[in-house]
């Protein structure tokens, strides 16, 4: 039994403690926005926030998140998260869409720590995320657009 905070709520996983967080989220908590891709932390489709930092749920045992805080795409409510989701729509980023939860979660942690990333910053921070449809140009552009919007809108907040 493992207790942790999930998208702001306290939850308890009844799964064996060595169960990978990915399956706890998807099959036990029924939050399927976090995807199973490669299973070896090489594609990024399973990326969630662990205490605000990006983590690959496919290699993280649930016991490792005991008493910690997990955010998934379903719970992404931060201003940069919302700016990113808006930019993903305005730039029409997703193709098949399967990797996009992970892409957005990763990008959100980039903008939290680096609100005005250069193109090179974006590429280096996002390079661990495979988009099999190769929608990379729009992913990169949407992150830049979201950063611009977040900066522009900051004074109003």
């Amino acid at each position: 039994m493992v207790k942790f905070r999930l998208n702001g709520e306290q939850v308890v996983s009844e799964s064996p403690t060595d169960t990978l967080l990915l399956w706890v989220l998807r099959e036990e908590m029924k939050l399927t926005g976090t995807k199973f891709g490669c299973g070896i932390a090489q594609c990024g489709a399973c990326t969630v926030h662990l205490d605000g930092s990006p983590a690959r749920a496919c290699v993280t045992p649930v016991q490792a998140v005991a008493n910690r805080s997990i955010t998934t795409i379903e719970g992404l409510a931060s201003p940069v998260g919302q700016a990113l989701q808006q930019a993903w729509e305005s730039e029409q980023v997703p193709q098949c869409g399967y990797c996009q939860s992970g892409q957005i979660m990763q990008a959100a942690t980039l903008l939290e720590q680096n609100p005005q990333p250069s193109d090179a910053d974006i590429v280096s921070y996002m390079n661990g995320h495979l988009c099999r449809c190769m929608a990379y140009p729009r992913i990169q552009r949407a992150i830049a657009v979201a950063a611009d919007r977040a900066i522009t809108e900051e004074p109003a907040q």
Binding site: S15, P16, T19, L20, W23, R26, E27, E28, K30, L31, T32, G33, T34, K35, F36, G37, C38, G39, I40, Q42, C43, A45, T72, I73, E74, Q85, W88, E89, Q92, V93, P94, Q95, C96, G97, Y98, C99, Q100, S101, I104, I122, V123, S124, M126, N127, G128, H129, L130, C131, R132, C133, M134, A135, Y136, P137, R138, I139, Q140
Partner: protein, 754 residues
């Protein structure tokens, strides 16, 4: 029968085509009776039991237009594009348009999504359906307003007559919308002139995008059914001939929730020697899958390596008695025999994986009536359903595939073979089952792009002019194994060939003599199940054709782009015809001229840099998408690393339905071409795919993306297709650029200089 019940007590407007009529309107749809069933009833009443109605859209009493999308959504936003086609003719308000991806039902007709066909093959039919709807609404609206229908026009979900108007909702609530059209009437319906289009050609937002940004889009892997258990396949050492001769699950039995290791007895022998391990939960299924020990007896391809497959390919290409002649223009043998000079080359491509990011999966549930419900994303339901009837011994009406979003298709999900172990294991367990391939099994049993070999011989006459090209192309043939009914006859009426595996070879250059021989690599066919991978045959024949054309140019000391322009003279069969082929080779010449200007072709470049050009005509000569591509590469001499600095493409696809979606497809497909050229490539080792995950199979990443400069020709010609073609010219353009930069001719994909 299974479908989304549209149980209504309000009036609905339903449009659909039946064998001899389009059922356009219903009166009040009875409560408890779905609109679909009401239409079926009408069709049955007409004695058309053998042909089911096809219903493309419905408008409810609130004015909401729901488009039923038969094609699979795998990233191309096909539902949005097809809905745009209907909505434009219908005069709908785009804000009122919704789409739903439908489950299998014979009423939808043939269900396949591939070949970049969807817009091309649906355009006329859907336009006519929309036009019929517009006419019915205009007539009913005119009647209500007391005006002549010819004085009305329809736009934005309203019927206008002078300064008054009625909304679709108002008309459907009270108007006279019962109307039938014969197929002749339908075909004669006036379709809008391109200048009058309002929604086609507009950058409307894709309707699937919002769900793909907040995690709510449901893929096959995300489906849950009550009481569902989990299965993981244990896959055999060879695709064919393997037997599971011993299963030891003693260690797994100790696991809480372990349900068993089920040998899969597939009567169709599509899958041989598979075992499915099942457990109450996914984590337990994973543990059980590693605890179960299976002893297999492998098939006779257990020792086959990539080099064996390529060697067999070369042997077959060089054996002039092998294969089927597909094109035989002029007299190649005489051209070669009388040649003053010949040029020969061998082009090869390595095995390539689809590697859909969503691993193969299926959720299966048998209902109380014994119907089998399958939840999965699939591109060719009409291919797998008949196979499943044999697997299960059930009639097709008792098997329903509930379509989900596809987490990548690229041709992999044209074959729904993952459903076979899922349905058999679910039936054995008597429980709903979610079957998930782990990544290694997904790669090992991917329907890979076959390793291929092309040989070319060009002849030059006494004056030095190009007089003929002889091309032999060898590969494993997907169509032969999976859909033999689609094999095509050769030119001499002797033998058959896989048209999808050769389609790029029949280029649009005028050459006095041209022969193409398509040859099946039987060793490949026995070793694995060859698959259709994005761009299919053109994806590898194009590599050889366009690289060899460069070799011919250099042999003639002619600029490669100038040679192409000269040979694209549009003479004879290259003049084109009607529909999307109109203009023929002249359109290919136009895109080539455009890309030459935009890329500043011929400009001086620094040392170790070069530009290469290549063209393609898309997937099929009968549905040409004209593309010219220039690649600019830089080579690091010490390491041999190839960096693509920029790719230009000029694309003439005819009418573009959604410019933003079209550009996304072009960018994605072009980057696929780059990825296959430089970053991907697998090999068979001991009868199996060796590279099974991203630690060894390495598709292109964001840091590898070059500058892209892609433009579409503004055109109102009948649309062809776009999902695949921009892939085709990228690899040869890069290879030709490598030659320009280094003087070294590369003939193998993936390209390696070191």
């Amino acid at each position: 029968m299974s479908k989304t019940k549209i149980t209504v007590s309000r009036r609905q407007f339903v449009a659909g085509a039946a064998a001899s009529s389009l059922v356009m309107g219903l009166g009040t749809v009875l409560g408890g009776c779905s609109a679909d069933e009401a239409v079926s009833d009408l069709t049955v009443a007409k004695g058309s039991l053998s042909f089911s109605p096809v219903i493309w859209f419905e408008i409810d009493g609130s004015g909401l237009v729901t488009m039923n999308i038969v094609r699979a959504e795998m990233g191309q936003h096909v539902g949005t594009a097809l809905a745009q086609v209907i909505a434009d003719e219908l005069g709908a308000d785009w804000e009122q348009v919704r789409i739903q991806h439908v489950d299998t039902d014979s009423k939808w007709g043939y269900m396949v999504t591939g070949g970049s066909w969807s817009v091309h093959t649906s355009f006329t039919q859907l336009s006519q359906a929309g036009a019929a709807g517009r006419i019915v609404l205009a007539d009913a609206g005119a009647k209500l307003m007391g005006v002549d229908p010819s004085s009305c026009h329809v736009e934005g979900g309203h019927v206008f007559a002078g300064s008054t108007s009625l909304s679709f909702a108002e008309i459907i609530q009270v108007g006279d919308i019962a109307r039938r059209f014969s197929s002749e009437e339908l075909a004669a319906l006036p379709i809008k002139a391109p200048a009058d289009r309002r929604i086609i050609g507009r950058d409307v937002s894709a309707l699937d995008v919002p769900a793909k940004t907040d995690g709510s889009a449901q893929y096959g892997l995300d489906v849950t059914r009550p009481g569902m258990v989990y299965g993981i396949p244990l896959v055999p050492p060879t695709r064919y001939g393997s037997k599971a001769i011993g299963i030891d699950d003693s260690a797994a039995r100790a696991l809480d929730g372990y349900l068993g290791a089920i040998p899969i007895a597939d009567p169709t022998e599509t899958l041989q020697g598979w075992v499915v391990v099942a457990a109450e939960t996914m984590p337990m299924a994973i543990k059980a899958a590693s605890a179960v020990q299976v002893e297999w007896q492998g098939g006779d391809t257990a020792n086959i390596n990539e080099s064996d497959l390529l060697a067999e390919g070369l042997r077959l290409a060089q054996d002039t008695s092998s294969g089927t002649t597909v094109v035989n223009d002029g007299d190649v043998d005489t051209a070669l025999a009388s040649a003053a000079k010949q040029l020969q080359a061998v082009y090869r491509t390595a095995t390539a994986l689809h590697f859909t990011l969503e691993p193969q999966n299926a959720v299966v549930e048998f209902d109380e009536a014994g119907q089998c419900h399958i939840y999965a994303g699939n591109q060719w339901q009409s291919l797998i359903l008949p196979l499943l009837t044999q697997v299960l011994g059930l009639p097709e009406t008792d098997i329903v595939i509930h379509q989900q979003y596809l987490g990548g298709g690229y041709g992999r999900r044209l074959f729904g073979d993952q459903m076979i172990p899922a349905v058999l294991a679910a039936r054995e367990l008597g429980r709903p089952l979610k079957l998930i391939f782990d990544r290694e099994a997904d790669s090992r049993f991917d329907c890979v792009r076959s390793p291929t070999v092309c040989t070319f011989a060009a002849s030059f006459d006494q004056q030095g002019a190009l007089s003929g090209i002889d091309h032999a192309a060898v590969a494993g043939w997907p169509t032969l194994s999976m859909a033999p009914g689609f094999m095509a006859p050769g030119v001499a009426g002797l033998g058959k060939f896989d048209p999808f595996s050769i389609s790029g070879a029949e280029h649009w250059y005028s050459v006095p003599a041209h022969r193409i021989r398509a040859i099946n690599n039987e060793l490949a066919q026995k070793t694995f199940l060859p698959g259709w991978l994005r761009a299919v045959g053109s994806g590898w024949t194009g590599w050889g054709v366009e690289s060899f054309m460069d070799e011919i140019a250099h042999e003639l000391s002619e600029d490669p782009l100038a040679l192409r322009l000269r040979l694209l003279d549009g003479a004879g069969k290259n003049a084109g015809g009607e529909g999307s082929t109109i203009g023929g080779a002249a359109r290919l010449r136009s895109v080539l001229e455009d890309v030459a200007i935009r890329s500043n072709w011929g400009t001086e470049l620094p040392a170790a840099e070069g530009m290469g050009v290549a063209v393609c005509h898309g997937q099929e000569r009968g549905m040409p998408t004209w593309i010219a591509c220039v690649a600019h590469v830089a080579i690091t001499p010490e390491s041999g690393d190839i960096s693509v600095k920029k790719l230009w493409q000029t694309i003439d696809v005819g009418t573009v339905v959604n410019p933003s979606g079209a550009m996304a497809q072009a960018e994605g497909a072009a980057l696929w071409g780059l990825s296959l050229a430089l970053h991907e490539g697998a090999e068979f080792e001991q009868g199996q795919v060796k590279q099974r995950n991203l630690d060894t199979y390495t598709p292109l990443r964001m840091s590898d993306v070059p500058e892209l400069d892609i433009v579409f020709i503004d055109s109102d010609v009948f649309p062809s297709g776009l999902g695949e073609p921009p892939l085709i010219p990228v690899a040869p353009a890069i290879g030709n650029a490598v030659f320009a930069a280094t003087g070294k001719r590369v003939r193998d994909l993936p390209i390696r200089l070191s």
